[in-house]
């Protein structure tokens, strides 16, 4: 039994391998990109719109609302990054209904890459919002002693993001695989439905956690309010 879709190799030429993770990631990218391109080609601003446009608008405004509720006041600025993360992880989980498909997020390489994107994006947005000096100063708050702990938390949360998503997606596929050997009828279908739910929740968690980290990095500390002058 294999742990991840990395083990399925379609094509190999020397050092370069084309494994199932890469192929399914490309497939997802193609579906997402071509799908949204086709839908947005015929946009209407009037009252009459196609149902696909309605679907896309619901998704986009929903993500925007969630980002705003986390505490990022300008969701348009971050939706490109956070929305892509959410849509990719959600699509990777939802496509498991297609037979023969293995979620690319069930491979540690994919989830590590996604987590590294968050790891890079958090300082990027933080510096963009606060400036280099203020952002670096946030590492030594509240005192200088906290500097190593802040750095450790930055690294450990990246690791946690990667392993959490990998563990959840891998365990779904693994449990279905084990159940198929014990009880081949009906019950694996229930577990697949549960896997769809878990996948959506994990996609939500992944993007919300990324949003929370970005919100923590971009928060401009307000100066303390002046004590009111006594009359």
């Amino acid at each position: 039994m294999r742990l991840s879709p990395d083990a399925i190799i379609f094509w190999q030429y020397g050092f370069f391998k084309l494994n199932a993770t890469i192929v399914f990631t490309w497939g997802l990218m193609l579906v997402l990109a071509v799908g949204s391109k086709v839908i947005t080609r015929r946009f209407s601003t009037g009252l009459k719109r196609s149902r696909w446009q309605n679907l896309l608008e619901i998704v986009v405004t929903g993500i925007e609302k969630q980002i705003e509720e986390v505490g990022l006041s300008q969701p348009q600025k971050y939706i490109g990054f956070l929305g892509t993360l959410f849509l990719f992880v959600a699509a990777a989980a939802l496509c498991t209904v297609v037979p023969g498909y293995e979620p690319p997020t069930g491979s540690l390489s994919t989830t590590a890459a996604l987590a590294l994107c968050v790891f890079v994006a958090v300082p990027f947005f933080g510096i963009e919002e606060q400036g280099v000096g203020n952002y670096l100063k946030s590492y030594v708050k509240p005192t200088f002693i906290m500097l190593p702990f802040n750095i450790i938390s930055e690294i450990s949360r990246t690791l946690a993001l990667a392993v959490r998503l990998f563990g959840n997606m891998m365990s779904g596929a693994m449990i279905i695989g084990i159940l198929l050997t014990i009880m081949p009828f009906i019950f694996p279908i229930i577990m697949t439905a549960l896997g769809l739910l878990t996948g959506m929740v994990q996609a939500y968690i992944f993007s919300i956690l990324a949003a929370v980290y970005i919100a923590a990095a971009t928060r401009v500390r307000k100066p303390k309010p002046e004590p009111e002058a006594k009359p």
């Binding site: 294999r2 891998m170 365990s171 939500y204």
Partner: protein, 93 residues
């Protein structure tokens, strides 16, 4: 017992213990979290959206500790590095 048997026995036993004990803590913690969320939902039904969202994020973060244990036991069973090392040594000779 030779090396391979010791490694196999240790891996299987530890994998079981890891998942068993590792899910105990998160199970208790998730139970507490859900119980508290339910009582606060009963007290303030208006804030249900916020409470549910926070509950889900919190549950996923608690659950991730159990998932770490699961990943460790899966590695011990299906991708054990020590086992692979011994097999490589045995076939290399």
């Amino acid at each position: 017992m030779d090396n391979m048997t010791i490694i196999a026995v240790a891996s299987i036993v530890i994998a079981g213990i890891t998942t068993g004990f590792g899910t105990m803590g998160p199970a208790l913690a998730e139970g507490r979290a859900v119980a508290t969320a339910l009582s606060s939902l009963a007290q303030q039904p208006d804030a249900s959206a916020t409470i549910t969202r926070t509950l889900f994020v919190g549950l996923a973060m608690i659950e991730s500790t159990a998932i770490y244990c699961f990943v460790v036991s899966m590695i011990l069973i299906f991708a054990n590095p020590f086992w692979n090392h011994v097999i490589a040594q045995a076939t290399g000779k």
